[in-house]
């Protein structure tokens, strides 16, 4: 049976650096993408990502067993991203400002898929920040609605609504990608 995140975090908090390596390996990629998508194209993505992990390291003693590690990690990340939005004033981008791709038919399936993925990323980058955040916490963080609500400090129903709107807008922008 694999060691739980919480066990690893406890060991790290007690001074075991190897435990941190194992924990880091589990979350490095999804957390990196969570940050990257939140500020698509922004030059500070790497800096933000690194800063989030340093905050985790510094706040290790604030983490108390049996608090689930994953929502705790993403709460730190979310707060850091919100700080970034506030500082850069980039929180209110809207999909309505986006020039929707015309969806011209592509010959090759792979090229078509690649195009859809690229469009997806672009659409995601233009979603309202709170909707994008909810979507990424679900997809990258693997968090439940309740956990997202806890991380973002909102109600479960609000999260549900944000996700519904996010998915609706993505669907609209990705017409032709479901065949």
């Amino acid at each position: 049976m694999s060691t739980t995140d919480e066990q690893l975090m406890k060991w790290y908090r007690d001074g075991d650096a190897d435990a941190f390596d194992r924990l880091y390996a589990r979350y490095r990629a999804p957390l990196y993408r969570y940050v990257l998508r939140q500020c698509a194209g922004c030059a500070e993505a790497d800096e933000l990502y690194q800063d989030i992990w340093l905050r985790v390291v510094r706040a290790r003693r604030q983490w108390k067993e049996p608090q689930p590690f994953r929502p705790w990690l993403y709460r730190i990340a979310h707060n850091r991203i919100v700080d970034h939005w506030r500082a850069s004033g980039a929180a209110h981008e809207d999909i309505d400002q986006l020039d929707t791709p015309d969806g011209s038919p592509l010959q090759e399936m792979i090229a078509h898929l690649r195009d859809c993925v690229a469009r997806f990323k672009e659409l995601l980058g233009h979603l309202p920040a709170v909707q994008r955040d909810a979507f990424l916490l679900k997809e990258e963080g693997g968090l439940s609605l309740a956990e997202i609500a806890e991380v973002t400090g909102t109600e479960r129903e609000t999260v549900k609504s944000r996700l519904r709107y996010a998915l609706k807008r993505l669907r609209q922008g990705l017409e032709g990608c479901d065949d």
Binding site: A17, D21, Y24, W53, L113, V117, L124, L167, L174, D178
Partner: protein, 212 residues
Amino acid sequence: MTDPQKPQPDEVEDLLLSALYHQGANEEPSPEMDNAIREQARKVARRRRWFALPRLAVTMVLLLGVGVALRVFDLAPPERAVVEFEMPEDQEAAIPRPAPSTANGARSDEVTLEQLPTQPALQSAAPQVRKKSARESLEQRMFERANRQPGESSEPVCVGDVPPADAGPSEWLRRIRDLRQAGEQARAACLQDLYRERFSEADQIKPQTIRE
């Protein structure tokens, strides 16, 4: 009717969206960044271990020190401070006494005004009841002490110095003072102990020293 097991069209589309998203979700942090973060976390963990060692050592030394000190000096708690005092005769009468129970066992709110004992009667009855039980207890203890085998107890005998049963605190204190003046410190101390047992805290006379 819809089958609850069968996914709804929206759910299918959401799953497709999720799959599409993960098709393109393959970015990862650079190895340099990974190393920088791991190194930072390692540094902090090492620092914590170094901090923890002296703290543990200091705690152990302190505990050991306290244990050794207790053994070497055999520290005992300080003796209880003794406050000695004397009460003038006229104050003795003013000592509050517990209220007596009625003779027929009736509740106090059922007693008529005529049945109530007069104030002087109350004052004389209350001490008798209280003093009787205290006296019995004292006599029992004295009897036990008097019947101890020689060498069983090193406590000096002062039974002969005990005032009569109806004597007030001032009589006790006078005897204690007399014994002290006569140089009978051990008997005086013994009688003082009995005095404390005889009279409750509330009854003991408030400060006026009986020291010579």
